[in-house]
């Protein structure tokens, strides 16, 4: 595995990820004949060697019939036998085998079969329309080059027969969407498209039947072909982003270990937990439902729930909320709420109430269509009346009016937006930013302020040792002892100590972890304690220290203080650059956090954020966003926690890191798979460039219409002119959209010079 090094993060994930056989059984689907198929996401595969390693490791298991890695969607699909000669198989071995090769793996949240089918339907339609367009164009070229009347009629008839099925098969996407819009009394880009396509076909057929000279079958079908290509690319891009996000680990537990009154334990799905049930929660597990601690003591990591960066000690009688991570000791919790009424459910109802910017937003293409279609349709009507009244030949008037409709057919307009968005989303995808929805890019270009969450967004949510105060004995010795002790714990502060220095392990005779206190080790006659001061030195707990921005841990020997260690949450790499670049570009910055105000202020000072707001509940976060929006601002919210989800939904547009809570990822419009925070200004940049290109494309398309419409209204447009004009305008629009990647590579040079200051992190294009 030369190129497939496993990150430290990956190792941490391996330790905490526990997928049980029950969960796997729920995720598999039967293929019949005793075979089951299990689809897993493997976010780290990225080369040929990864494919071989994984497939070999899985095929070696006796009950696995076949395994195939899909590198594009970063998934492995594994077919296994439910029964072998030795009895039922344990599919957990599949997960274990993948972990043994050093890759992370997650069960897929839900396979999105629907989207897969839609993609295939679009591809089929592109194929059919492409076939029809090519053949009709061949026939049309012969007509244009001067076929005699009989041949022309035959060619028209053949074209009509090829075009009809293509029109129905490829046009249904547009007809359906146009009909949906019209039913609601609105108009979108698909209305003029459908109208032009149907009318041009009808008129061409009528001309053919009356041995006319001009038939527009080629225009009809090639228009559909171009538009379908745009639509398919758009769909594939969004599909890729969605599938990458679906492949992320699910943070919320699927099930819980129920303790029956007789003491037996049983694994049930979270939805089946009833109020009053007792649930056992091991260290390292997340709490599945809101409840009250019945027995046991532990520390809880609430960073993803409330944004509190410091673990909280809980013991008998304490209330715990779902989503919190149990760190140090086993707990038995009595459920006080059903899963569907738990904190998460409240958050989701807040989110639904807050659905703001997204619901009100109208796509730029639809806004353009609202102006465009009445203008074009009244022009066509005016042409019809003018030719009819002035010329007296109503049949000729009808033909000219239809020519106007075809010439103005929004081929370029229909491509102007999706092509730019596909190129921009592809550019962001390569930088590890997934765009879930095209309108998110349009909204991102409009923002004038950015609100950040603190824990997990501006910071990594994991503490870092910043200062050591040692007594006379010497710093190195104290640190080495503390690190040796800390290796026995999964408490985040212990982890931070272990990360801070690499030492040889000194041996202790016995180590025990006291939940809510710290670690105790016996070495010969000495007792070492690592934890809060009250525990380590036996002094009463100081309450004044609880508001200090730094978190403190104390090491003592036989009750005598040896050293104090101070921790601070690590800033996300690139956070300072991101904030300063956003401010330089004229955006106001704010921080909305659920953490203590003192910690929030300290972080805001370090990053020079304009408006630090601490101690906010999820509802207050939404209110802050609403207050800023009411002041005429359009806010980008960047956040990760469960408590951020309503604010993410309320903001004009939102981003979340891939480490975010499930509901946070769901609520966000963009998800970034990158440790560095400077993807935020980068994404805003790309979105603004895209918006500029879209405006340029509209200008080009309208400029083309201004030139072509008078020609059509004068009755001079022939199918040949229409074909040339339409394909040229489409090509110009597409080429203009491709300029985005070139602008970007020029920009990248300036980014490279910016980012050398910070530590260099590898960009993982997930």
């Amino acid at each position: 595995m030369s190129c497939c090094g496993v990150s430290a993060e990956g190792v941490l994930a391996l330790e905490t990820a526990s997928i049980t056989a029950e969960e796997i059984a729920l995720a598999s689907h039967p293929l019949g004949e005793g075979l089951q198929q299990l689809d897993l996401s493997v976010p780290d595969v990225h080369c040929g060697e990864c494919i071989v390693t994984l497939e070999k490791a899985l095929s070696r298991l006796p009950y696995v019939r076949s395994a195939r890695v899909n590198l594009t969607s970063r998934r492995v699909s594994c077919v296994y036998h439910e029964q072998t000669a030795d009895g039922p198989t344990d599919p957990a071995g599949i997960i274990a085998a993948i972990h043994a090769t050093g890759y992370r793996t997650n069960l897929l949240t839900q396979a999105d079969w629907h989207s897969e089918r839609a993609k295939n339907q679009l591809l089929l339609a592109v194929g059919v329309c492409g076939f029809a367009a090519a053949n009709i164009m061949l026939l049309s070229v012969s007509v244009w080059s001067g076929a005699d009347a009989a041949t022309r009629d035959m060619f028209h008839w053949i074209s009509a027969m090829i075009a009809a099925p293509a029109l129905i098969y490829g046009g249904r996407f547009f007809f359906r969407s146009a009909w949906g819009a019209l039913k609601r009394g609105r108009t979108n880009m698909d209305v003029p498209i459908s109208l032009a396509v149907t009318l041009s076909y009808a008129v061409s057929l009528w001309e053919t039947m009356h041995h006319g000279e001009h038939a527009w079958f080629d225009a009809t079908v090639s228009l559909l072909f171009f538009l379908l290509i745009g639509r398919t690319l758009d769909h594939i891009m969004r599909d890729k982003a969605r599938s990458a996000i679906n492949g992320l680990a699910r943070l919320a537990p699927r099930g819980a270990l129920l303790v029956s009154p007789d003491g037996s334990r049983r694994y049930v799905a979270v939805e089946e937990v009833k109020v009053g049930d007792e649930i056992a929660i091991a260290a390292g597990d997340r709490i599945p439902v809101d409840g009250m601690v019945v027995s046991g003591a532990s520390d809880l990591d609430l960073s993803i729930v409330t944004g509190e960066s410091r673990p909280v000690a809980v013991s008998d009688g304490a209330e715990v909320s779902s989503g919190a991570m149990n760190l140090t000791g086993g707990l038995v919790v009595r459920a006080t709420k059903l899963a569907r009424n738990s904190l998460l459910a409240e958050i989701i109802s807040l989110m639904e109430a807050a659905e703001g910017g997204r619901a009100r937003y109208r796509r730029i293409a639809d806004r353009a269509a609202a102006l465009y279609s009445p203008a074009v349709h009244s022009l066509a009507l005016a042409t019809f009346l003018a030719w009819g009244i002035l010329g007296g030949d109503w049949k000729q008037a009808m033909l000219v009016a239809v020519a106007v409709l075809i010439i103005t057919c929004p081929c370029a307009l229909g491509l102007a937006v999706p092509v730019v968005q596909v190129v921009a989303a592809g550019e962001l995808f390569r930088n590890g930013v997934m765009v879930k929805d095209g309108s998110a890019l349009e909204r991102l270009a409009e923002i004038d302020g950015v609100a950040f969450d603190k824990t997990g967004t501006l910071t990594l949510g994991s503490p870092m040792l910043v200062r050591t105060d040692a007594t006379a004995e010497g710093e190195i010795d104290a640190l080495a002892t503390a690190v040796a002790l800390a290796t026995h714990s999964r408490h985040p502060l212990s982890r931070a100590l272990v990360r801070s220095c690499a030492t040889t392990l000194s041996r202790f005779d016995q180590v025990s972890e006291i939940a809510g206190g710290g670690l105790e080790a016996i070495h010969g006659a000495d007792t070492y304690r690592l934890g809060n001061e009250a525990y380590a030195c036996g002094t009463p707990l100081k309450t004044s220290a609880s508001d200090a921005p730094l978190t403190e841990v104390v090491l003592s020997r036989n009750g005598v203080l040896m050293a104090r260690f101070f921790f601070e949450d690590t800033l996300r790499p690139g956070a300072a650059e991101a904030v300063s670049r956003l401010q330089a570009a004229g955006f106001s910055t704010a921080m909305v956090s659920g953490d203590r105000q003192s910690v929030v202020d300290a972080t805001a000072r370090a990053l020079r954020i304009d408006l630090p707001l601490g101690g906010l509940t999820p509802k207050q976060k939404v209110d802050e966003i609403a207050r800023l929006s009411a002041g005429g601002h359009r806010i980008l919210m960047v956040g990760d926690g469960i408590n951020d989800a309503p604010a993410l939904a309320a903001a004009h547009v939102s981003m979340a890191p891939s480490t975010a809570s499930d509901v946070g990822r769901q609520a966000a419009d963009l998800v970034f798979f990158n440790d560095r925070l400077d993807v935020v200004p980068q994404a805003v940049d790309v979105a603004r460039q895209a918006a500029r290109l879209i405006r340029q494309n509209f200008a080009l398309a309208i400029g083309y219409n201004v030139l072509a419409v008078p020609v059509a209204m004068a009755g001079l447009a022939t199918p040949l002119i229409a074909a040339i004009a339409m394909s040229t305008s489409s090509l110009i629009v597409v080429v203009n959209a491709l300029r985005l990647t070139r602008m970007d590579s020029r920009k990248k040079k300036s980014w490279a010079s910016l980012s050398v200051k910070g530590p260099v992190y590898e960009v993982t294009p997930a």
Partner: protein, 52 residues
Amino acid sequence: MNMLIYLIPIALFMGGMGLVAFLWSLRSGQYDDLEGAAWRILSDDDVGPPTA
């Protein structure tokens, strides 16, 4: 003029073959993993036949 009676069906038939080939490649999953296929051809080991 007479040769058109042969040539047009031939042209349409050839175009139709292309369409059928495209539909077949789509159905048999050849567009599912474009990146993986590029790597697989380079690997020396025989990792066994693909699943259906």
